[in-house]
């Protein structure tokens, strides 16, 4: 453990300190985005099986209406983000690349913010199993970016005993202020959602971990903490990737998730603040997840800010609304460290999109540097939060020795945070190599 930990500062070892760039949007309240004339709701916005559409082309749908049902446990349903008519169920571009089946809704001009479909429920009467089912019915996924179905995460594996629920409010990615604003503005929902999650997993305490560059968020949540002391807020060091669940567990509890294991094995479940806030708001009302908060930032945007965006809004509509100019720009979905450049502005905002970043051409030029040979300086080794050896992995990747990377150098423990690429003085795209290697190994295993 680092020296800082001995002095009582909550942190993990290694990691990097990228420039935060949060000042443009951190103090901007969440604002609603109007409806786009056409919404695209992909059937696979989550990890797991795509949902099954239950509406037909030409059918009218109300805001909040169930339009696709979950296909098995490892799947979530989808709800209509606005009142309108189903125009098509067809292949549409996705942020991941391939065209995927999606429900296209032509939104009525008179569509308003009222959620027409809801089934309010008495949360106190539900058993943990019923809550898990209720969570699945809301269509909720991890809003931090991974889009892992929330009900699967809350379903504790048999035999595991959970003592602590960790609520991840780090938001360590530069530029993004989504979770920050949610914590400042929606404290009561967050606390309620946290209490539901604690009931489901059977945890006695919950810790909300927030990076210490967000004192206003910490202060805002403290006002709403329940009197019994079961939920606490802890400040953790501002360092990337503090918001990776394994890092946060180490920072807060000093426990380490075993290689290839799950946090549940060491008695912990981690959930993002955005996810639990949505849980706290949607569960009692019995509504589906139809909108989420997104940070739109970067030098290419005229009105950067935090927007409450209906899921399915095409990026083009969102960017036109906030004002962006020119075409020689790079649009990144997610943060600059782990987000992906999008190749089409027709892709919709999905449940897992936490931010849209628009970089102008001058920054892209500066970042497209020449790749030099590895000088074995070891900076990547000192930066890797998973304590892997990116130098060795990089050399093996160049030789396409993917099996050796996985078997001897723990490639599968790589969380693709990008710290190695970030610090490399030779500009070697290490994390890209590892993503390639992982994708080929996944294909070979299939």
């Amino acid at each position: 453990m680092t020296l800082l930990r001995w002095f009582g500062r909550k942190t993990f070892s290694h990691g990097v300190h990228p420039q935060a760039h949060k000042e443009d949007t951190a103090d901007k309240p969440i604002r609603r985005l109007p409806f786009a004339p056409r919404m695209v709701v992909p059937l696979a916005q989550h990890l797991g099986k795509p949902s099954r559409p239950i509406v037909k082309v030409g059918e009218e749908v109300g805001r909040g209406q169930l339009i696709a049902e979950a296909d098995g446990f490892m799947s979530v349903p989808q709800h209509a983000p606005a009142t309108g008519v189903v125009e098509a169920i067809t292949l549409m571009p996705s942020a991941q690349g391939p065209r995927v089946p999606a429900i296209v809704i032509r939104v009525y001009e008179a569509s308003n913010q009222e959620v027409l479909w809801r089934t309010p429920r008495d949360m106190d009467a539900l058993t943990p199993e019923q809550i898990v089912q209720a969570v699945q019915d809301t269509g909720l996924v991890g809003l931090g970016g991974a889009a892992f179905p929330s009900h699967v995460k809350l379903k504790v594996p048999a035999g595991a005993v959970i003592d602590t629920l960790i609520v991840n409010g780090c938001e360590c990615e530069p530029y993004l202020t989504t979770d920050h604003r949610v914590m400042v503005e929606q404290g009561p929902d967050l606390i309620r959602g946290t209490q539901y999650a604690m009931r489901v997993v059977g945890a006695k305490r919950a810790i909300i971990g927030v990076e210490d560059n967000k004192p206003d968020a910490i202060a805002a949540i403290r006002q709403h903490l329940p009197a019994d002391g079961s939920i606490s807020v802890e400040a953790v060091e501002t360092k990337y990737p503090q918001g990776a669940e394994k890092m946060l567990i180490t920072s807060l509890l000093g426990r380490e998730v075993p290689s290839g294991g799950l946090p549940a094995q060491i008695g912990v479940v981690v959930n993002n603040v955005g996810t639990l806030t949505a849980l706290g708001r949607l569960l009692p009302r019995g509504e589906g997840l139809i909108e989420r908060v997104i940070t739109v930032a970067g030098p290419g945007v005229k009105k950067p800010g935090n927007y409450l965006v209906p899921i399915g809004t095409p990026l083009r509509f969102l960017l036109n609304y906030v004002g962006f100019s020119g075409s020689e720009q790079e649009v990144i979905l997610g943060g600059p460290m782990m987000g992906n450049a999008v190749s089409s502005l027709d892709v919709p905002v999905t449940k897992g999109s936490s931010g849209v970043l628009v970089l102008s051409s001058s920054e892209i030029q500066a970042e497209t540097r020449r790749i030099h040979p590895c000088i074995k300086c070891g900076k990547c080794v000192a930066a890797c939060p998973m304590h892997l050896n990116p130098t060795q992995l990089g050399l093996l990747a160049a030789k396409r020795e993917y099996e050796v990377m996985a078997e001897r150098f723990h490639l599968k423990d790589c969380i693709e945070c990008g710290c190695c690429s970030f610090v490399c003085p030779s500009s070697i795209p290490l994390v890209q190599y590892f993503r390639i290697a992982k994708s080929i190994l996944r294909e070979r295993a299939a």
Binding site: S94, Q96, R99, N340, S343, Q432, I436
Partner: protein, 278 residues
Amino acid sequence: MAALGVALAVLLAIASRRLYVFEDPRIDEVEEMLPHSNCGACGTPGCRPFAEMLIKGEVEPGQCTVNSADANQEIADYLGVDVGNIEKQVARLACAGGVHVARTRARYQGMKSCRAASLVSGGGKGCTWGCLGLGDCEVVCDFDAITMNRHSLPVVDAAKCTACGDCVEVCPKDLFSLQPVSRHLWVACRNKQPGDEAELECEVACTACARCAADAPEGLISMQNELAVIDYSKNALASRIAIERCPTGAIVWLDDKTGPQRGRDAKKVVRQEALPIG
């Protein structure tokens, strides 16, 4: 010291007698006649294991696709077995969308690798099934059988291709497959969009108009997922008649001497330079 040397020498002498493993000398001989490429096209890990299996009679010499027919005949004569009737296979690309006919919607400027590009929202190509043209297959081919043409499409030299399957594995869009040379009819498209939308992305996309299926003998070609699919179990019925009325030229007649031939009604591609990005 001398005594120790003698004692160990005796030990080694005994060991070499007692632990002697008989190895068929023909394995070395046959291995010499194999190409030493260790490419794995025959399905074994390399040339030596293939030689061992040849001696045991588990495989036929013809299964080595890298050796010339003469060299395989030589092995067959040496072992006194039949050379085996293995049809030559060639890697075929199921895409004809070069940058002059297929739309590029965004400029990709990351690592020059199809695999890397496909991980960044599928690469910059409008057709998300199509060839990204960054040449992972050209790099991986050990036999120099693949070269990228001026439109950023790989061209397979059928004479050099040994059907080792490396390009099949490396392509992130899964566009390569190994096909026997007797299969001349070929659908060079994987776009699953409806006809009009597919054609917007790429001039040579299959629009699933079903003319090829109507013209070809019954059952040879069918329409599945907005694509023409050839049933190669009926390959003997295949003729050029199926390609003649194809409006986009997505279905071609493969001829390794002249290259793929498009039908009579296929619209002519005059453009040579790349389409503008956007």
